[in-house]
Symmetry: C2
Subunit: 472 residues, 2 copies
Amino acid sequence: MSLKETEFQLMDEEQLSVELIEAQYQLKNTSRQPNAKSVLILVSGIELAGKGEAVKQLREWVDPRYLRVKADAPIMFNQKQTFWQSYARFIPAEGQIMVMFGNWYSDLLSTAMHVSKPLDETLFDEYVENMRAYEQDLKNNHVDVIKVWFDLSWKSLQKRLDEMDPSEARWHKLHGLDWRNKKQYDNLQRLRQRFSHDWVIIDCEDEQVRDQQFAQHILRTLKHCPAHETTAVGRWKQAKTTQALLEPSTAVADEADYKKELKKLSRKVAEALRFDSRNVVIVFEGMDAAGKGGAIKRIVKKLDPREYEIHTIAAPEKYELRRPYLWRFWNKILPEEKITIFDRSWYGRVLVERIEGFANTVEWQRAYDEINRFEKDLYDSQTVVIKFWLAIGKDEQAARFKAREETAHKRFKITPDDWRNRDRWDDYLKAAADMLQRTDTEYAPWHVIATNDKHSARLQVLETILAQLKAD
Amino acid sequence: MSLKETEFQLMDEEQLSVELIEAQYQLKNTSRQPNAKSVLILVSGIELAGKGEAVKQLREWVDPRYLRVKADAPIMFNQKQTFWQSYARFIPAEGQIMVMFGNWYSDLLSTAMHVSKPLDETLFDEYVENMRAYEQDLKNNHVDVIKVWFDLSWKSLQKRLDEMDPSEARWHKLHGLDWRNKKQYDNLQRLRQRFSHDWVIIDCEDEQVRDQQFAQHILRTLKHCPAHETTAVGRWKQAKTTQALLEPSTAVADEADYKKELKKLSRKVAEALRFDSRNVVIVFEGMDAAGKGGAIKRIVKKLDPREYEIHTIAAPEKYELRRPYLWRFWNKILPEEKITIFDRSWYGRVLVERIEGFANTVEWQRAYDEINRFEKDLYDSQTVVIKFWLAIGKDEQAARFKAREETAHKRFKITPDDWRNRDRWDDYLKAAADMLQRTDTEYAPWHVIATNDKHSARLQVLETILAQLKAD
């Protein structure tokens, strides 16, 4: 989208400022409302085109307290990190505006332009496609993404380089590219055209026009805060609740061998996890008392606590609710963490949030695809995702609840909430059936483990981890 | 402190677990109460002594949802980072428990043992002294710090190395030191004795004793949640409010030269900031409408937004209130950020929080020293701290408030709060006088700038930055 196509005229500066500030406050007030949104502005472009100046001017027109600017040195893409991992924590909360100079596109360009062996164009396009999908997910989850390219012709760029103050030149050099090199310039322009068709392109010959085009575009975006859809249009096809969910097996492990077998498997799993070159994420879901904690304990038995991280997921905090529901998980899976275990997870979106109405129909129905993309991104960056649904029978759960109430050091594990959730047993089973059907992928398969017999469940979990690590 | 000295006996495991869980819940419920606290457990020791196992056992006895474990590869200390900078974000919130395997002591030991040129012992002791002071500040701000050293004799260590499973050996090697080297072992023991006199030392010959000594010590700590002092014992000596605060100069800049001068200085400041080898933190405090925003605008005029970060400080968020008041600033000053500007700052503790009663007497009176230590740490890690108090006359403020109300694009800058704060003008001046007297240090001096004339104020701010950068 070029702004030339839209009608553009200079506004009175004071008027523009007043409208921007009013729109900012309007945006701020949407937080936690049906039309809530935040605005993420990705800024890239040709050196000396003046993206810095345009952002600075914008900052002078708006209330700077509610506009954050993030700038980072370029990060080279590597195979062990998703493209969003270093940016996720800067995703703005509802009501906020964030300008990102360093962003996934500028990093993609840096990577493509700088490595001795340039990125294959197919890979480049794949990255772009993934970025688009990620941005769409952001938008669906209330983060409006605006992308602005500050453009400058080769001739004007050279002229500005000639006229540049030497001290600025020294600083600008830090940005890496040789802007005197026509071939590099052309290559950059060619590459960015592979993604910029949905960007706002600002021709930066004239400073005043540049600043106003940018600010006016932001203004239009801020003003547009329609209420979000809450009811789905399509028909929902409920998955069939399988026998494995309805009546989990009650087969019992051979008690004589259990301890020996457990010890052997614990050791094998520890070694397999420790020496795998990939990172591993293990997810546990299941009804209360299905044995998630017990299974986790056996996985880490032979590991040192420094080798893994366990996240026990409860209701989100307030500041987390103001961001996409996946945000808190984006920030919990770190490239430097070898083994990350989730006791409950992002699947809360399609389980408890669906059932309790914390997510509306549109939101939870959309979540399956969002989750699949998320797990695919992890898989593509060499992270193994192993998912368990621990299936317990309803009677067995009741027995365990009672045992918990009667055992002093287990009493903390049982709360009135647990009994209440039990009343919605069938709803949870239905939700689980949908989840298992829609998010059981090649890159992140589900494993349903019957846990009526704790011992055989634990052994199976360990065996399954070994099998998936081996298979991938 | 050796546990041998205290009475120790094994507890029934279930009883221990119940008491730990109860104490955890008690701790959790202190959050935002007069006896609020969090517990930070620093764990270090001899390899194979079993600190990992002891933490794992603790995790099995407690409710693991409220015990977090953080482990990091050792970080080598460097001169451009304070020792707490990489750990600050893991300081637990009130009600939480955090175990840190990687911590400032283990990093100090790594640094001392590993660098080709070992740390000078004076420097080592200085680090230890600073760490102690930092921990004391944590304790005063509701973070209880426990330090536990897991000890093992040379003989037992060698025996355990002999018996170790080969796969574990491979993993353990990652930790760096050569545990077969007696000289290294002795050196480590000698070094840790320079700081361990207030640590709990656990002799790890016996696993059961080890785990129970550790857990019982944690239990005692959790149980002890007395209410915090709120009234100071000593007499407070109010500083004299100087003339510079009471009646700021009304001298006016030469209008003819102003623009030229401003342009020249903006450029000089940009260059000085950009090419200084140190990081720079600039702090603005002052009454509403004193011109903080305007001064900041002129500092960054010739900088690119990617070169600096501006933090506008408002009331803390809920999750920030559950941590030491400096915590949100620890996390805003980053080693990789060249220039960080604060529009209001940590001085809120001794200004608005003092005046509005958000901090009690003990808290704000203690804050001056805490702030001085904080700024000294920054200074010692090659960060220049430049602090401005912008002094405006009361009449001039009223004039500016009115002007703001009458100018559409400035109206957002004025709220009922501003008028209310104005009613407490004298209290703010008194608080400012105390602040200026008690936190004007050699390493982070205050600059009081009269701002009745905006233009001369802006020029003075720029000149002052140049002067301090040059002087340091």
